[in-house]
Symmetry: C2
Subunit: 303 residues, 2 copies
């Protein structure tokens, strides 16, 4: 396993793979790797000749009052885990090499970046879109892998890659959960014991809402109210940023459930912001709509 820190060297290494016809699977991460990340690495490894994993805590996707400084970092542990997974390359650029003095270009996927998490973290998805574009241009992968826990991020990246005619498959991979249903996240490390025990309420809330939809309830407002009620019953949940029923491409809030539906939640437990979501395929027209969603989750490249 090779560790590369310089963007030019990463780029030239990838180009050599391209020129010899080898496919590259790329997993961009902010490190503090958990089973969710490792499931992406495994898939990248399985579907490609070479697996490249980047570790970069991207300052421009954190707001001024957010947790950039204290975001968990564990380079040694990460390296060990990636060695076990037989990743081929770790790309660990310095902040100054990705954002030298005078850096001023940004990428924005309008509308879809302003909804859900975007409404609570202004500039967040602009930072994500910009760094991912940079990393894709440096690593030049055949396929790039993203966890569906960050569903909005996945949709935004898939959209910008299509809109900017980048020839890369964006692959969404299922959320990996703890035994009690809590979605794996590097931020789970912030939770104390009481908070950690309370956190699976998010998963239970999503599961219940999903069951309601599957049982035929189409009143989205009713489901949203039940979700809020469920979350607020848990004393550890201090704030609900959002919890509700959304159209999975535009993130518009739904009043009536018609086709595929995104259930999504962002709450604060103590000082920790946790997100999770669940896609519910349409009951009424499963063929048509599940086709739509499947198409989204493993989109074939289109330029």
């Amino acid at each position: 396993m090779e560790i590369i820190r310089v963007p030019r060297i990463m780029h030239d290494t990838s180009m050599k793979f391209c020129m010899t016809g080898r496919t590259i699977g790329f997993v961009p991460t902010m490190g503090a790797l958990h089973e969710g990340h490792l499931s992406l690495v495994r898939r990248a490894k399985y579907e490609n000749d070479v697996a490249v994993v980047s570790i970069f805590v991207n300052p421009i996707q954190f707001g001024p009052s957010e947790d950039f400084e204290k975001y968990p970092r564990d380079i040694e542990g990460d390296t060990e885990k990636l060695k076990k997974e037989e990743a081929d390359i770790i790309f660990m650029p310095e902040i100054s090499s990705l954002y030298p003095d005078g850096f001023l270009t940004h990428i924005e996927a309008e509308k879809i970046s302003e909804k859900l998490c975007g409404a609570f973290r202004p500039g967040h998805f602009r930072g994500v879109a910009t760094v991912v574009t940079k990393l894709l241009n440096i690593a030049r992968p055949t396929r790039a892998y993203f966890g569906l826990k960050d569903f909005q991020q996945y949709v935004i990246i898939r959209k910008l890659v299509k809109d900017l005619n980048m020839d890369i498959d964006i692959v969404g991979c299922p959320t990996v959960r703890e035994q009690d249903g809590l979605a794996m996240s590097s931020r789970n490390a912030y939770l104390d014991r009481v908070q950690r025990e309370a956190a699976p309420v998010i998963y239970r809330c999503l599961t219940e809402a999903s069951e309601l939809i599957k049982s035929g309830i189409i009143n989205a407002q009713y489901i949203k109210e039940l979700m809020h009620e469920r979350l607020l019953k848990e004393p550890a949940v201090s704030v609900i940023d959002y919890a509700g029923v959304y159209e999975p491409e535009t993130f518009d809030e739904l009043s009536e459930i018609k086709g595929d539906t995104l259930l999504a939640v962002a709450v604060r437990i103590g000082g920790t912001r946790l997100i999770d979501n669940m896609l519910v395929e349409s009951r009424e027209n499963p063929d048509l709509n599940s086709g739509n969603i499947k198409n989204k989750v493993s989109q074939k490249k289109e330029i």
Copy 2:
């Protein structure tokens, strides 16, 4: 000479050239080709194995009250000219293939996009940055060629290519002028006889300002006032959008001339907006400063 209209076909054609080690020189244009464009094509042809020219009048770089509809179009004439220059490929995409329904991603080089022309054409450089990024991703050139008449555009594109880690040389090429000094522009076709005769005042104004700097005058305000005076003496000049003395990387207005200096003008002659500029290398420290500018005008790729 091949004509390609479909982005995917253009992309795959370029990839074939890349995979066989051939270099691609790319000239993005809006058509209505003149000697300025053709000088870029010649250089692209000379410096690369394959010359690709795109013709696409990009709607998103025009403001709502601007000349998108009436912008000159001459596909037949352009094709003839490019055949003579032995261009290898013309890429002529449909608007709907570059901007399908639901398109929502944009690229912005902040600060430098808001100065000079950016202040008078809000959103213009965002539209330019977005379409050029798309075209570069589709055509995947080794080098891309831009005329220095659009100096601000050139600086912005060079900057975004560097900031987004795109592995492409951005080459700036000297402005080509009519015999009387008027910078060649597709928009010159809008001028009537009287306006056309008046238009070289822009070049004369720039030349005189440049001579003043070379003679040792360092008071930029004085030079700016002379430029305005010179332009306003010409009755055909109806509005001066800007005319003055600027730092050539940031486009900040200068009060004192110290190093390399950008003289830049945008005026309206009748309903036609014309721009031109001149770079003046530093007299005091020619080695240091001309090196700086030269470096800018034929930047080596950096990722």
